[in-house]
Symmetry: C2
């Protein structure tokens, strides 16, 4: 077609609800893409099996106490900077398999971004047990969704397998932490690289849009 519009930019957002630096990124991305034609592709995956593949039994923020001590102060400052509520989780890293299964089930649904934010707030602003079915159900209900139905679908073998497979994909793509963003094959690691990843996505789509039309 002669008048094909510029391509929509796409950014893959790989995250785990237990990951503290995923929290500000989940909270910030909608506003950052609001004025642009960028589509966020949500990619929930489990960080635990990735860490175990490195021989680590838990988060490096727990294993390396010097970095761990720093990280909680940094989170406090970062959340203040972004005007996000913050309460240090009393349990870290928090198990989040049930809410992650719901996230992968709903990853293409219109409610996914609002759901991700609510679960993140439960973990990092309210210090709640995000693995509890009741809490996940309340979050879904609060979004006007059929909670029992979604929770049932999230716990099917097929959906459980989907989360395991996505975690394996994360590993094979070289993901070693969260949040991680992909724009095509270009990887960006950390909340600190979110703006850079979005700039890159926009430039790529401009170039694609201004190239030869098919």
């Amino acid at each position: 077609m002669a008048h094909q519009p510029a391509r929509t930019a796409r950014i893959e957002f790989w995250f785990d609800f237990g990951s503290n630096y995923s929290y500000p990124a989940v909270m910030r991305i909608d506003e950052l893409v609001a004025d642009s034609d960028t589509k966020v592709v949500w990619r929930p995956f489990l960080l635990g099996p990735i860490f175990r593949s490195f021989g680590w039994e838990t988060s490096p923020f727990v294993l390396q106490k010097e970095k761990g001590a720093y990280v909680w102060r940094d989170m406090e400052r970062q959340c203040a900077k972004y005007h996000l509520p913050w309460k240090r989780p009393s349990n870290f890293p928090r198990r989040a398999i049930l809410p992650m299964r719901v996230a992968i089930l709903g990853s293409n649904e219109p409610w996914i971004s609002a759901y991700n934010k609510q679960i993140m707030l439960m973990n990092f602003a309210q210090d709640r047990d995000i693995e509890a079915p009741q809490l996940v159900g309340e979050v879904l209900q609060g979004l006007g969704l059929p909670a029992p139905e979604i929770l049932r679908a999230a716990q099917t073998d097929e959906n459980k397998l989907r989360l395991r497979e996505q975690t394996e994909t994360a590993r094979t793509r070289g993901i070693f932490g969260a949040p991680t963003f992909f724009v095509g094959e270009e990887m960006f690691w950390g909340n600190d690289r979110l703006e850079d990843a979005l700039d890159y996505a926009r430039k790529q789509s401009e170039e694609a849009g201004s190239g030869p039309k098919d």
Copy 2:
């Protein structure tokens, strides 16, 4: 005094010439503080003994190959963003004890910032062996300094001890990587936090300046 001016803000800049993320921070800080009354206090220290105290024999970017693969691409992009030249060092992390001894010797001298930049460029833009006395001498000469005299003073037992002691101070202050910035007791880790550290320093000094005069 009744008319004491606002206090000069101070930021401690802890770095190692072998540290790749110290490179953009060393190159950027002068411009970032140019319009403000912020004093940079240079704190060279050796990252190697810090890593060894964690049981690591070398840089985590070498030990953890997934992160390592990412870091070099990230450096390339970060340097492009900051308009800094970049060439991946063929030897990493590069031994830098001699230039570090010169840095601690000159840490209060007017030439220190220019010297730090030149050594960093040799490592991360020219892939040169920065441990070679001839190279360090050339850098000093290029700055119009008495190179043989400075190299001699850098290699005295007293100055060698000073670098070992500063490294031990880094460890006791909880430093686990470089660059690290301190504003008072507030620690900021990484080139990504340089702007935040400077903002914090300015706010602290404004508060001190607007407080009761002595």
